[in-house]
């Protein structure tokens, strides 16, 4: 776990421009066989059952034959170098890749007993169950209250103003933001600090009571103090939600997650308990990555 500071890289690509794995300049720190994942990728309490998942951007195969279970109420961290496909894989879980024309997903992706990529599946319902927090805080240019109330409104979760007020308050409380903003719920959300904005986005996501929250590098645009707050929040949320978090910070993965999955060039190399991955990784590539030999 030396050289950690250097390995806390920042992904340069934005979340709306998917990074495609590049085969070039691969250091020879071991090799990976497609579809072979070491460690414990499967679970008997699976929330998501993902089998033989492949993702293509046009001709380009960004995810290569990945099988993984994500357990109920666990926090699983996806780590790996830039362009390894971890964000792409995350976005499959609530079909956020749909908006990219050239993107094609194959394999079986099950959330409980529903097929995520069933063509007849209503993505609205899916996304209500699987919420998402993005890399850059993206509050709507509306008031703080309206931001949180947005989801419940479109899903008709509250019949009366009082119900809505309650949902908003609860979500903001869970996101640890209530005390900071309760006196200025009508203030515009874009005027808040970056960390507050990100926690607002988390509050917005949990306001529709999802079962799963996907987080795509939620702290990469935040300073260390705001990061610490968000991490604290993740620990609290894990009691009621399943959380999948993509991160470039290995310390963060070590701090917040129960299990860690290491991705490399579109392959899922290793999945195991977080403590195990960071102390005694089974795969050579995982070891090279977490010790900072490349990243």
């Amino acid at each position: 776990m030396t050289n950690m500071n250097q390995t806390v890289a920042r992904e340069t690509a934005d979340q709306d421009t998917p990074v495609v794995a590049v085969e070039a300049s691969k250091p020879a720190h071991g090799s990976v066989e497609e579809g072979k994942t070491v460690g414990k990728p499967f679970s008997d309490k699976a929330k998501f059952k993902l089998r033989d998942v492949e993702v293509f951007y046009g001709e380009n195969r960004a995810i290569k034959n990945i099988s993984l279970d994500i357990a109920r109420n666990e926090v699983i961290a996806f780590i790996g170098p830039s362009g390894c496909g971890k964000s792409t894989f995350l976005r499959c879980l609530n079909r956020m890749n749909d908006s990219i024309d050239s993107c094609r997903v194959t394999g079986s992706l099950m959330l409980d007993d529903i097929d995520i990529y069933d063509p007849k599946r209503d993505v609205v319902e899916l996304r209500a169950r699987v919420g998402m927090v993005f890399q850059k805080p993206n509050p709507f240019p509306k008031s703080i209250y309206e931001n949180v109330a947005y989801g419940p409104r479109i899903h008709g979760l509250a019949n009366r103003k009082a119900d809505l007020d309650e949902i908003v308050e609860n979500s903001l409380r869970k996101a640890g933001l209530w005390d900071e903003v309760k006196d200025r719920l009508d203030a515009t959300a874009t005027g808040m600090s970056g960390g507050q904005q990100q926690r607002l986005c988390i509050a917005r996501a949990i306001a529709v009571s999802p079962e799963v929250v996907l987080m795509d590098e939620p702290c990469s645009a935040l300073d260390p103090i705001a990061t610490a707050k968000v991490e604290e929040l993740i620990a609290e949320l894990s009691e009621s939600y399943t959380i999948v978090i993509v991160t470039h910070s290995m310390q963060q993965a070590a701090r917040v997650s129960h299990r860690t999955a290491y991705f490399h060039l579109g392959n899922l190399v290793e999945v195991n308990e977080t403590s195990k991955v960071f102390t005694s990784p089974e795969h050579e590539l995982t070891e090279s990555y977490i010790t900072g030999r490349f990243g």
């Binding site: 979340q15 993505v123 609205v124 209500a128 850059k136 993206n138 709507f140 989801g151 529709v208």
Partner: protein, 462 residues
């Protein structure tokens, strides 16, 4: 030499000066060990020499060309015998045109008095002298200044800074030109407007509900008094603009939404340029489309359901104008909608919102100020539009809100007031300037509002 030729000569001299300056800087650089020991690149020394050569020469040329006419005229008039000396400014200009006609040979010298013929000769001689003097002066100034500039080239001289500061002034004057033109237009319109209000009372123009600018041309002619109430014209303008906007805003906005959110790449690549082609059709084509196709269609349609409609109607002009404005609204709105960050779309979609909910509740409100700005720009375009209205809406100044009747607009009246032979001091022609001023103020206000809104929009989510 004619000023135009002289101008050309100055440019040639400036180019020569550039060559000399360039060469001298290189020569100076050689003993020092190459051009890297110069303060600036040889190009800048050359440019500096050429600017030194050209600028004073051009200033002299401009001043000479501006004043020579006046000076020569004064000299010629002053030399006339006392009995022919003009009594008034009008007489003077008549006399001068007579003299110059003789001088140019348009009027044979035999037809005029001897002193006039002499004056014509003098005029010709003076012009010749002036030309020669000008040529000599400009060329010598150019050569002298260019030589001085060339002489002053030293390795330590920072020519780049000097050249760049001159270029900065050049750019500034280009920018100032547009502003000065606007100011000039404002003044000329304002001046004539004041003259108009000297003839027609303020209250009549602003509050009168009658517009019939036909006044008697001669004292003995029997004609109407002339009424200059601008209300019917502005009502007509507003009516037609309102109809145009009712067509353009929904259609333009919805096509923008379709193009930016729903259309695939290929559809967008085809539809967008096609839509923008609407903006490239000349308005006169729209005009006869409105007059020959749409207006009769509307009046037939109205007649078939038992409503009386004029063959030229505000509806026809407004509808066609609306079609013309669609690309304005759609193109600007499309840009604004596209400028809304993708992250907001993702945020909304990830919450389980449908595409239309995302559009309605997140993107549209975020883009609204920009869309408003675009609409206001389209409105000022509609207000200023003339050709379609001339052809399709008619000329009768009716004070009506019925879109099936014929109406007229401010711009159309300006055109009819000023076309043809008109005296430029009657209330009738001056009214055109007053109308123009009002129109200018109205569109200026709209533009200011539009710019304000657009600027506010810029600060929205950055």
């Amino acid at each position: 030499m004619q000023p135009a030729n002289l101008l050309l000569l100055t440019v040639v001299l400036a180019i020569v000066a550039y060559g000399f300056g360039y060469a001298r800087s290189r020569t100076l650089a050689t003993p020092l060990g190459g051009i890297r020991h110069l303060k600036s690149l040889p190009f800048y020394y050359g440019a500096r020499a050429s600017l030194w050569c050209a600028i004073p020469a051009l200033v002299v040329l401009a001043l000479w060309a501006a004043f020579q006419g006046k000076v020569i005229q004064t000299l010629v008039l002053g030399s006339l015998p006392a009995e022919l000396a003009p009594g008034s400014a009008g007489e003077a200009s008549l006399l001068l045109s007579k003299i110059s006609n003789v001088a140019s040979g348009a009027l044979p010298a035999g037809f005029v008095e001897a002193p006039i013929a002499e004056a014509a000769d003098r005029l010709e001689a003076l012009r010749e002298q002036s030309r020669m003097l000008m040529t000599a002066l400009v060329v010598s100034v150019a050569v002298l200044a260019g030589f001085l500039g060339w002489l002053k080239i030293r390795p330590k001289l920072n020519a780049r800074v000097q050249v760049e500061s001159i270029l900065k002034w050049l750019f500034f004057s280009c920018a100032a030109l547009a502003i000065l033109t606007t100011v000039g237009i404002i003044f000329s319109v304002a001046f004539e407007t004041f003259r108009f209000f000297g003839k027609v009372p303020f209250t009549e123009f602003f509050f009168g509900s009658q517009w019939s600018p036909q006044t008697a041309l001669r004292a003995d002619q029997v004609a109407a008094e002339g009424a200059f109430g601008m209300i019917p014209l502005f009502t007509g303008t507003l009516l037609i603009s309102a109809i145009a906007m009712t067509v353009a805003v929904p259609v333009g906005l919805m096509s923008a939404i379709y193009l930016s959110e729903y259309a695939g790449k290929r559809v967008r690549g085809i539809v967008k340029p096609l839509l923008e082609m609407l903006a490239g059709i000349p308005t006169v084509v729209y005009g006869f489309f409105a007059a020959l196709t749409v207006a009769p269609f509307i009046s037939d349609l109205a007649a078939s359901i038992g409503i009386e409609a004029s063959s030229q109607s505000a509806l026809a002009a407004g509808a066609v104008m609306g079609i013309m404005i669609i690309p304005f609204v759609s193109s600007l709105s499309d840009d604004v909608i596209n400028a809304v960050p993708q992250s907001l779309r993702d945020g909304s979609l990830a919450l389980g919102a449908t595409q239309s909910e995302t559009m309605k509740k997140v993107i549209f409100p975020a883009a609204l100020p920009g869309i408003m700005g675009g609409i206001l720009l389209a409105v000022s375009r509609a207000i200023g539009e003339t050709m379609i209205v001339v052809m399709a809406a008619g000329l009768a100044a009716n004070l009506t809100a019925n879109p099936l009747e014929t109406v007229t607009t401010v711009t159309v009246q300006i055109v009819t007031l000023l076309t043809g032979d008109q005296e430029f001091d009657s209330a009738k022609t001056l009214a055109a300037f007053a109308l123009g001023a009002m129109l200018f103020i109205a569109t200026l206000l709209l533009n200011v509002i539009a710019l304000k809104i657009v600027r506010k929009y810029r600060e929205q989510y950055d």
